[in-house]
Point group: C2
């Protein structure tokens, strides 16, 4: 019932709801606004996005490096799309039968339903860490502005901490930075991170360049081999190596813990900083729509209409759109922008009886990737390739030209010019937060905490086994094993301020970590809960006392 025949067959404007505020969604809304203004198309456009701005994704690595201001990379959607109704809400569900999008309640008490005549799905994809143990808990993604800011903050905080630590092993692990994934995002963030930590050495006199280690883990034989020609991929790989980035090729990340990144061959890299740009998955909302898809992307025809569901269209990374040569359109911004124009024209055409639908026929302008140290690689149409500083200059010029808005262009230009003269100083923006109960994953043999350490968290075992040991006299003695459902670490909360035993993962171990402050709030409110902890703490203290006086083995010696 979407196309009601000739223009005017519907007495009101066609309601178009766009899901997603990346390049695909925003340029679709923009094209529809223009068709309405210039050709009188009767459309009423709404756009739903989690933020009220569009992120200029290609520049996120510059935020990590500190080369541009945090908000220089974003464009306010209300400014770009003055005639579009913006909903800054979570999308809870899409009902393609009823033609309704259900939005979350936000700060209000009710969900909100949006009816549509045409639905444009432009939700991109998401980094999905769920299938790799420890990744959801201990890796940072690199997809959103918040990710970029979080990475920069974390890296600077680690440098601060490392600069006053004397223990060589702890320093080394703090100064090791691991990036997983050798596509465009992974190479760009590794290169930016490498530039950023090396530049920061000027500010941290106690850190030496030999202590720094930036590791890029990639499953292929060369970085960017899927994205570029073999010659350029080789150049990119060599260039990253020359900048001191340690490349681990033909290998994958298989697990992560608070202390290490674990590779497929069993190698453990001790680190406090793990960034992963893989694996990438379809947005869960797209999956739940139950429409035809191929490898997680919605199957479209050449007009960007989703197959088998009239009135639903898709654009960008979540859409599988055939190109003229039979291959499917690659997931890049330049393709999304061209798809958006085709899509908008076809929505309007379908409202006027379906005449004049267009097919997507863009073949690409080339590819660009930044490699840090003012170097880049570019592949232009006709097989022309450019590399090194010239490509880097092209990179900056092209993206600068694409930045929306004069004031943003001016601010980025000032940042870039001042960055050529003066390097950015490492200043983190810590907004608090990040507290609350969280999970942690440990690999077999890893230490959770050592006797005598400062501690203010309580741990509950979700799965796996923990070995508890204690120094008695001069030797370390195993005093117990704890399993799923048991907890430990409560001594440090109920009185003592340092850990009275050591704990180590005997198997792969998943823990729930409850910070002291939350624990205090919980125990205060739940006297039962507190009583239970106190009984166990009492029993453990008695067991300790018994063990120490008799030097015998305790029976239920937990900590």
């Amino acid at each position: 019932m979407a196309s009601t025949g000739l223009d005017g067959g519907r007495s009101r404007s066609a309601r178009v709801v766009v899901l997603g505020g990346g390049f695909g969604g925003v340029y679709t809304a923009l094209a529809l606004e223009r068709l309405a203004a210039k050709k009188g198309a009767r459309v009423e456009v709404s756009l739903v996005n989690r933020e009220n701005y569009m992120v200029f994704q290609p520049m996120l690595a510059e935020v990590v490096a500190g080369d541009v201001g945090i908000l220089d990379t974003v464009s306010p959607l209300r400014q770009m799309l003055p005639r579009t109704q913006l909903y800054v809400r979570e999308i809870e569900a899409v009902d393609v039968e009823r033609r309704v999008v259900v939005l979350g309640a936000g700060m209000t008490p009710r969900r909100h339903e949006l009816e549509y005549d045409h639905l444009v799905v432009a939700l991109g994809n998401v980094t999905d860490f769920r299938d790799i143990p420890g990744l959801p808990e201990h890796a940072m993604g690199f997809k959103t502005l918040a990710d970029a800011v979080r990475i920069r903050n974390h890296v600077i905080n680690v440098l601060e901490q490392a600069s006053v630590v004397r223990d060589a092993e702890v320093r080394r692990s703090m100064l090791t930075f691991v990036v997983a994934g050798g596509g465009f995002s992974g190479t760009e963030v590794a290169a930016a991170l490498n530039d950023c930590v090396r530049a920061a050495l000027g500010d941290y006199r106690s850190l030496r360049v030999e202590e720094l280690r930036v590791v890029l883990v990639h499953s292929g034989k060369q970085v960017l081999e899927r994205e570029l020609t073999p010659a350029l991929a080789r150049y990119a790989t060599k260039t990253l190596g020359e900048q001191g980035i340690e490349l681990v090729l033909g290998e994958r990340l298989v697990a992560a813990s608070p202390q290490s990144a674990v590779l497929g061959d069993g190698r453990r890299i001790a680190t406090r900083t793990l960034i992963s740009t893989v694996p990438s998955s379809p947005n869960p909302i797209v999956e739940r729509m139950g429409l035809a898809s191929a490898r997680g992307r919605l199957e479209c025809d050449g007009t960007t209409a989703v197959k088998g569901c009239e009135g639903v269209w898709a654009v960008g990374d979540c859409a599988q759109i055939p190109m003229r040569d039979g291959s499917s359109s690659p997931p890049t911004a330049q393709h999304a922008i061209r798809q958006a124009k085709v899509l908008a024209a076809n929505v309007v055409a379908s409202e006027s009886g379906g005449h004049g639908r267009k097919s997507f026929a863009f073949t690409g302008l080339g590819k660009l990737g930044a490699l840090g140290h003012r170097r880049a690689v570019a592949e232009l149409p006709g097989g022309v390739t450019v590399e090194g500083q010239l490509a880097w200059l092209m990179w900056r010029c092209i993206y600068w030209a694409k930045l929306p808005g004069a004031s943003r262009k001016a601010k980025v230009a000032v940042s870039w010019l001042s960055d050529l003269a003066l390097p950015a100083h490492p200043v983190p923006l810590n907004l608090g937060g990040g507290r609350g109960a969280r999970q942690a994953h440990y690999e077999p043999g890893e230490v959770v905490f050592e006797e005598g350490e400062v501690g203010d968290s309580l741990f509950m075992i979700l799965s796996g086994t923990v070995e508890v040991s204690k120094r008695v006299g001069g030797e370390t003695r195993q005093i117990g094993m704890l399993g799923a459902g048991e907890y430990f670490g409560e001594m440090a909360l109920l009185g003592s301020s340092s850990r009275s035993a050591s704990t180590r993962a005997a198997t792969a171990l998943d823990l729930l970590v409850l910070p002291g402050s939350d624990f205090a709030a919980l125990t205060e409110s739940m006297s039962e809960f507190r009583g239970q902890f106190e009984r166990i703490a009492g029993a453990r203290a008695e067991a300790d006392a018994a063990r120490e006086s008799s030097s015998g083995q305790g029976r239920r010696p937990l900590r």
Copy 2:
């Protein structure tokens, strides 16, 4: 044992530890670095601060307004103080007997102890919400950069939400912004907020200026009456009023809830945004040092030495330092900077036998306060007063001149110039976080949630009573009362997605709020915990069924 007589009586350099990285602490370290470089003073300076930057406090209100970039207001300490050892750690304790400062463990497993010969306390004061019910949970402070960013983010998020809400009452409460405290901070943030939300109307077409309400609550008869002359205070009060700020004078904030600010006369202002710049308290670390103090400030003599504790000095807002006229030095940046120079000179003098100690003799350069809408007030020495746009221009020039570093000056100048041409667009920087268990305070009669609302949090009652009611047939019937230690809201978590009853505070009510995600993690790990909830949920469902079939009264009807 601090002054060991003549220079060289101590074979090593004197260790000076500065606590705090505001104007007082930073300028003390700077003065000591200069004395070491120019006069050969043998000092080794360490500075402990929570951040690795100094915030240029007078410009924080501009961050709220979006007039300057977030990081334009900060100066990296490592750049300002190249010869000072910086410790970015929490201060856990100061032991003046042992002459040791204990730092928190940070990301490392151990606490760190810093020994000193001279200790400089420059910890300022803190906003302390603890004595006002609901303030710790529901008010935002305005003291740090994180506070300023948080306020701006919150305000923009509220505008976004309000722009798509149709319920007039909910809209009104979302568009009401309350600031408590009419000193410099309070008036500056109220003025900036007022400018910011009015400018944002251009971006939110659905919001009308009549719906906006910015309220400033102040206990005095005029704003800034303690800080300025009566004539200027009157001018400031009048100017704020002319800009549409609603002034509530001679009144105090006495409580806060998620939905309202409560005043001393019992009035409730429905709002989602409450900023409080009062009350201000001594830093708890200063209190715990157990030194002589007057109204929370360390009692010093004219040389900035703390009375009765040799080797301990104080500077800035946490120090009570006598002026020549017998009054005590006011808590402003200009005084802190001059005190710092005196302090540094006296530390060096005491190392060379105590000769040539100086006394603090600065009388002040005047006072400046911004009032929004490009207006300000200024009081210069000799009784000269300036007001309006000229004072505002002075305000910008003076603070711009004081900004440290050429690149920061350039960036702020660009931001200010582009802001004159183009207003800042409202873009929030949401970094996630803010999750985890938190507390909430409700005033008697306030609704916690309504039947049918969307909900994903569980509530535990810390103190007070909750009335539970339900619509049965056409009427609303009270079905139970819950007290301290009981919980409610678990139905929405264990299956149902909307609230099956309404809850209201029968008395003043303090709750622990556990977000659904945390609850899921907790219940998964603690089968016992989950079992308990399921048993209660089952019993409540049975009671509901019984009530509905018999239309009789349920006996244990909780939700």
